[in-house]
C-alpha cells in the first residue's frame, strides 16, 4: 500500500519532467506545480450499491509562468488533471489558467482563462461568483474551474476597481454514479444541462467590484449579471420502477447579484461579513429574490501558553432565506479552532463544527497539513456527519463519514 502511494506520483512526475525539460529549453520559463496521490476511506459501508469504501486517486497540476517587458507582461498556464479509481466524473481535466497579463500605467489587463477570489469569511464563500466550483474535488467548494475572462483593474487613492467581461459559462462538476459522498439522486453532468434562457452556455456575463482598504477596515462591493454558478433547479431525467427520479440534470438561470464583503480589525479581533442579494432574471423562478449572509469573527492568541504556537478561534453564523437555492447553510453556526504550530514544517490544524439551529444536524471536520522535507506535503482530512435522521438535510450522508490523506510532491 505504502509503496503504491509513493510510486504513483513518482511515475507521474517522471512522465511530466520529460516534457518539462523540453519546454524549459525552448522558452526558459518558470515551471512549477505538484503531483499527488490521495486516499479517501469511509468508515461505513455505503448506502448506495454503486459506491465503494476506499477511493484512490492521483492528481497533477503543472504551472508554467513567463514574464517579460520588465515584468510588466506575463503569461501563465496552469493545467489540472485528476484520475479517480472509481468515480468517472471525478476523473477530470481542467485548464485552471491560460492567461496573459499586461500592466499599463494605471490599469492592469488580464485576458484568457483565469481565477478570481472575492471574500473574507472562512467557512463559506458567498459572494465569490466569478469562477465555477469544482465540486467533485472536495466537499468544501474551495476548488474552482478556470473561467474565460477579460479583466481590467485599477488601484487608486479612492479604492480599487475591477471590471470583468466573462464570455462562456462553465458547468458545475458533480460526483458520478460511483462517487462518494454524493446525494442519493445522481446529478448527471454527462447529459446536456438545461439553460432557461436563449444564449445558454455562450452567454456573456459581466461583473464589477469596488474595494477599499483602510487602516482598520477593508470592504468590497460587487455586482454580477450573468449565469448563476449554482443551479436554480434540477430536472429528473431517469426514474426507478416506482417512478421516483434516480438521475437529474441541473437547470441554470440568469441572475443579478449584489455582493458585499468586509472586515474590520479591532485589537486582536477580526470581524467579518459577507452578504449577497440576488434576483433571478430567467426561467420559472424569474423575479424571485433571495438574501444570504455569513458573518462572524476570528480571534488569534499569538504564542499561546508561552509556546510559539498560535491558536485562532473562528465563529461564523450563516443565514439564507433559500428562495433561490436549497442550502445546508440556512441557519447555521460554524465554530472552528485553528492551531498554527509555526514550526519549520508549517504544521497547521483546523478543526470545526457546523451546527444547524433548526434541525440540530452537525457536520464536523478536522484538516491538518504539514511539510515533509523540502518538497513533500502531507494533508489529512476527517469529515463526519451527525444528526442524520431521515427528513434532515444530511440524511443522504449518514454513512459517509470519511478520512482522506493527500501526499503531494512539489517541483
Amino acid at each position: 500500500m505504502k509503496t503504491g502511494v509513493l510510486l504513483f506520483p513518482a511515475i507521474l512526475f517522471s512522465v511530466l519532467t520529460a516534457s518539462i525539460v523540453d519546454i524549459n529549453i525552448a522558452i526558459a520559463g518558470d515551471l512549477s506545480g505538484y503531483v499527488g496521490a490521495q486516499i479517501r476511506s469511509f468508515f461505513n459501508n455505503p448506502g448506495i450499491p454503486e459506491q465503494h469504501n476506499n477511493y484512490l486517486s492521483g492528481v497533477v497540476e503543472p504551472d508554467f509562468y513567463q514574464s517579460w517587458d520588465n515584468d510588466k507582461q506575463n503569461v501563465e498556464v496552469k493545467l489540472f488533471y485528476r484520475k479517480d479509481q472509481y468515480d468517472k466524473q471525478r476523473t477530470h481535466a481542467d485548464i485552471r489558467e491560460l492567461s496573459w497579463t499586461d500592466v499599463l500605467q494605471n490599469w492592469e489587463i488580464r485576458a484568457g482563462i483565469s481565477k478570481v477570489f472575492w471574500g473574507v469569511t472562512e467557512t463559506q464563500h458567498l459572494v465569490d461568483i466569478i469562477n465555477q466550483t469544482d465540486q467533485v474535488e472536495d466537499v468544501d467548494g474551495e476548488d474552482k474551474l478556470g473561467q474565460p475572462m477579460i479583466k481590467a483593474s485599477t488601484e487608486r487613492d479612492w479604492g480599487s476597481l475591477d471590471i470583468f467581461i466573462l464570455p462562456g459559462f462553465r458547468e458545475r462538476t458533480y460526483p458520478g454514479v460511483e462517487g462518494r459522498p454524493r446525494p442519493a439522486i445522481v446529478i448527471d453532468t454527462g447529459r446536456p444541462a438545461v439553460y432557461d434562457f436563449s444564449a445558454g452556455k455562450h452567454h456573456i456575463d459581466y461583473a464589477l467590484r469596488y474595494s477599499y482598504s483602510g487602516d482598520n477596515i477593508e470592504f468590497g462591493v460587487s455586482l454580477f449579471s450573468g449565469v448563476d454558478r449554482e443551479p436554480t433547479d434540477f430536472v429528473p431525467v431517469a426514474f426507478n420502477p416506482l417512478g421516483r427520479p434516480t438521475t437529474v440534470v441541473p437547470v441554470y438561470s440568469l441572475i443579478n447579484q449584489l455582493g458585499f464583503d468586509g472586515q474590520a480589525f479591532v485589537g486582536d479581533w477580526t470581524w467579518k461579513l459577507e452578504a449577497a442579494a440576488a434576483e433571478v432574471r430567467s426561467g420559472k423562478k424569474r423575479g424571485t429574490k433571495s438574501f444570504k449572509t455569513v458573518g462572524g469573527f476570528e480571534y488569534t492568541l499569538v504564542g499561546v501558553l508561552d509556546s510559539i504556537m498560535d491558536l485562532g478561534f473562528v465563529v461564523e453564523y450563516h443565514y439564507s432565506d433559500q428562495h433561490i437555492h436549497q442550502t445546508i447553510f440556512d441557519n447555521d453556526l460554524a465554530t472552528a479552532l485553528r492551531f498554527v504550530f509555526n514550526d519549520a514544517q508549517s504544521t497547521e490544524i483546523l478543526a470545526g463544527i457546523v451546527t444547524d439551529a433548526n434541525t440540530q444536524s452537525l457536520g464536523s471536520f478536522i484538516e491538518a497539513s504539514r511539510r515533509l522535507g523540502e518538497s513533500w506535503t502531507l494533508e489529512a482530512e476527517l469529515r463526519a456527519f451527525h444528526g442524520t435522521k431521515i427528513s434532515r438535510p444530511l440524511f443522504a450522508f449518514r454513512f459517509d463519514d470519511f478520512a482522506q490523506i493527500d501526499l503531494k510532491y512539489y517541483f
Binding site: S32, E108, S160, D215, F265
Partner: protein
C-alpha cells in the same frame, strides 16, 4: 551630535511632556539621538531589492531552507513598503507578503495565497509571532522607525565581531518598544559608532529574560553610504534553535513606484 550625558529634565506638570534642556543630554536623549542619526544615515536609499536565503536550524542541527525575494520602497515620514515573495520550499512558491509599515499606527499586511488566488489581509496588531517558522518575529523584520521605541543610552563598549576580531567601538543602547503588542520588554543594541548600524541586538521577552541574540555578519556599504549585513544570525537561547539569513544581489534605486507595492502587484508577484 552632542555626547554629553549629564542632563536635566524639565517636567511640565499636568501634561507629562518632557522638555529637554538645550545644553545637555540625558541617557534617554542620547539614546534617541543615536537612533535619529542611524535613521538619517539610512535615509534616501529610495528603494532596494535583494535575494534572501533563510536557513532554519533546530536543536538537533536539522536545516530547513527558504528562498525569498524582497523588494522595499522607502516612504518619506512613514514606514517602508515591502514585498516578500517565496520561491522555496516549492509548496509555498508564489506565496507573497505585502507590508506597509507605519511608525505609530499598526502595520498593514496582506498575504497572497496563489493556490486560491486569495489576498488575505492579516490582522497584524500582534507581530510577536514567528515569521515562516523562523526565529525572526514579524516585528524583527518590520522596518525600523525611530518612533517605534523609546531609548536609553547605556555605555560605550568595544566588542569583537567576525569582521572586527580586534574589536569595534559601539554605543550600547537599550530600547523599549512603544508598541503594546510587542513580544519584548526591551532590546539591547550594540551600534557601530562609525557605521551607525547594529552589530548585535539582545532581545528580552515579556518576562524580561534573555530570549534571542541577533548578530549581523560582514557588513557591506552600498552606494558609498548604506550599510547592509551579508548575513544575520538570530539565536534563540531558550529553544536552542537559530535562523541564518543570507542576503544576496542587493540592488538600490530600481525605479520602483507605489504601483509595484499595490495589492494587485501582490497577485502577480512571481
Amino acid at each position: 551630535m552632542r555626547l554629553i550625558s549629564t542632563g536635566i529634565l524639565l517636567m511640565i506638570t499636568g501634561y507629562g511632556l518632557l522638555l529637554p534642556c538645550a545644553q545637555a543630554q540625558t541617557a534617554a536623549e542620547k539614546g534617541l539621538a543615536i537612533a535619529v542619526e542611524a535613521d538619517k544615515r539610512d535615509n534616501g536609499f529610495v528603494d532596494s531589492k535583494a535575494d534572501l536565503i533563510m536557513e532554519l536550524r533546530n536543536k538537533q542541527g536539522d536545516v530547513s531552507t527558504r528562498y525569498i525575494r524582497i523588494k522595499t520602497l522607502e516612504v518619506a515620514n512613514d514606514g517602508d513598503k515591502s514585498l516578500s515573495i517565496f520561491d522555496k520550499p516549492a509548496d509555498v512558491k508564489g506565496t507573497a507578503f505585502l507590508t506597509y509599515s507605519h511608525a505609530l499606527k499598526p502595520d498593514e499586511q496582506w498575504l497572497y495565497l496563489p493556490a486560491l488566488r486569495r489576498v488575505k489581509r492579516i490582522n497584524s496588531k500582534n507581530k510577536s509571532g514567528p515569521f515562516m517558522g523562523s526565529e525572526f518575529a514579524y516585528e524583527d523584520l518590520s522596518s525600523q522607525e525611530v518612533k517605534k521605541y523609546t531609548y536609553k543610552y547605556l555605555r560605550d563598549e568595544k566588542i569583537k565581531t567576525r569582521e572586527f576580531p580586534q574589536g569595534v567601538d559601539c554605543f550600547v543602547v537599550e530600547r523599549y518598544p512603544t508598541y503594546a503588542h510587542s513580544g519584548y520588554t526591551r532590546e539591547v543594541a550594540w551600534i557601530n559608532k562609525d557605521r551607525y548600524i547594529a552589530e548585535k541586538i539582545d532581545f528580552y521577552d515579556r518576562k524580561n529574560t534573555l530570549l534571542k541574540t541577533l548578530t549581523n555578519i560582514n557588513e557591506k556599504q552600498y552606494l558609498n553610504r548604506y550599510w547592509r549585513p551579508d548575513q544575520m544570525l538570530m539565536e534563540n537561547h531558550q529553544s536552542g534553535k537559530s535562523t541564518l539569513l543570507t542576503w544576496k544581489n542587493y540592488h538600490f534605486k530600481n525605479g520602483f513606484t507605489r504601483r509595484d507595492f499595490s495589492r494587485n502587484s501582490l497577485k502577480r508577484a512571481r
